[in-house]
Symmetry: C2
Subunit: 248 residues, 2 copies
């Protein structure tokens, strides 16, 4: 009993120190960019000997990976929350809510977005969504549900295409086939294409390539989603484009 209590207290302390290290590291990144994040700078700010820090993170890369995983989890949660808010709206409404949640999270957490997609140690390396740290592909499910619902009567896939399951990441296809047994492999290709469109616009906006005011970037993003939903011509076309006059 006594040993367990001591262990628990140590673990709690370790967890709290780890959280503090990550909080400081993220702030250094946000305020100064990749070059500002060094283990030495973290140690100085936390008032810890640099050597003690190695007991928590063996290298700068390990720390960056931990930050990236946290940011991925936050993005995935935001995307799920967006989908859940629109749970009653059918696949179209859920896709729209998901896409807006992704963009809004990115605008609020640009450093997190860069960490996930082009972080100093390289982004995640799988498709159609970024591979989450724990191999859970929940984040991209709204995309794939949309693909499943719209594929049979959609203009979105060219008829000449023949994809196979082996064309895609094994871990992803295994997860997708369990969750969406009616989705053909074309659905993954479609999910990838949709994700590339939305990801591309968010990345342009974050990188300042959409030099226009952010209301215009929002309008362009919304146009893309609206167009996507129209093209899919799903029965669940239950979300007509909003009137954006008050946004302009």
């Amino acid at each position: 009993m006594h040993d367990t209590a001591v262990e628990t207290r140590r673990e709690r302390l370790r967890r709290s120190t780890t959280a503090e290290i990550k909080e400081i590291a993220l702030r250094l990144l946000v305020e100064g960019g990749p070059s500002a994040l060094t283990l030495r700078a973290v140690a100085r700010q936390i008032g810890m000997a640099p050597n003690a820090l190695y007991g928590y993170f063996a290298s700068r890369d390990d720390l960056v990976v931990a930050l990236r995983d946290d940011q991925y989890a936050a993005l995935a949660q935001a995307a799920r929350d967006g989908r859940d808010v629109a749970a009653a709206q059918g696949v179209d409404g859920r896709l729209r809510a998901w896409a807006h949640a992704v963009r809004e999270w990115a605008l609020e957490n640009p450093t997190g977005w860069h960490l996930i997609f082009d972080g100093p140690t390289g982004g995640h390396r799988s498709a159609p969504c970024p591979t989450p740290p724990d191999g859970d592909f929940d984040m991209c499910m709204p995309l794939l549900e949309f693909a499943e619902a719209t594929l049979p009567h959609s203009q979105l896939i060219a008829a000449s295409t023949a994809y196979r399951w082996s064309d895609f990441d094994d871990a992803l296809t295994e997860r997708v086939r369990a969750a969406l047994p009616d989705l053909p492999p074309e659905g993954i290709a479609l999910g990838l294409r949709i994700w590339a469109r939305l990801h591309g616009l968010v990345a342009f906006e974050l990188d300042g390539r959409l030099r226009a005011p952010s209301t215009v970037a929002a309008a362009i993003y919304d146009d893309e989603i609206t167009y996507l939903l129209r093209s899919a011509a799903a029965d669940e076309m239950d979300n007509p484009p909003e009137d954006r006059s008050e946004e302009r």
Copy 2:
């Protein structure tokens, strides 16, 4: 006369040394990534004192910018060449050729692509195409010509959208309005969206997010283009999707 000849010879020597420095710098980047490119490493490989190198490039950033501008020029040239090959095919054929030329250049020059779009000193920062070093927007003209030709009868723009010229980069709109007087501001928004789709897929493929064999990445890219052309429903629909059976 004599002075001019001497000057010319000096200039020629300087040009040749500059070219050699850039060639070595690009090779260091290709082989070792951003951290391998240092002025010290370039000086060592070229057999020059580090101080002498500063007479050519005042800093590593200056050298990177010079490399990036070269790579941009090469990408723009490849895109133009692609368009020119399909000059007789109408706007659809030209867009398709342009898009394939962009992807092929990226696959052959991944370091160049990263330099242009997410290089160590940041990518170019304008839209809808990356801003070329000399402010010439020729690279994106096939996109905008396509937008101009298809906009009147296209499903690609949601009717509720009202864009203004002031929504976009001044240098770009000035250039576009001179070259394509009939294009409304919606055309720029559409160009951006198309570029985001294509750029997003190429970036996914280069970053290894499309883990599938490259023939599948090619098929997905081609699906997106085919779909784009169909949605645009242009009169010039003169390029039916090729039979890809021999590629698979």
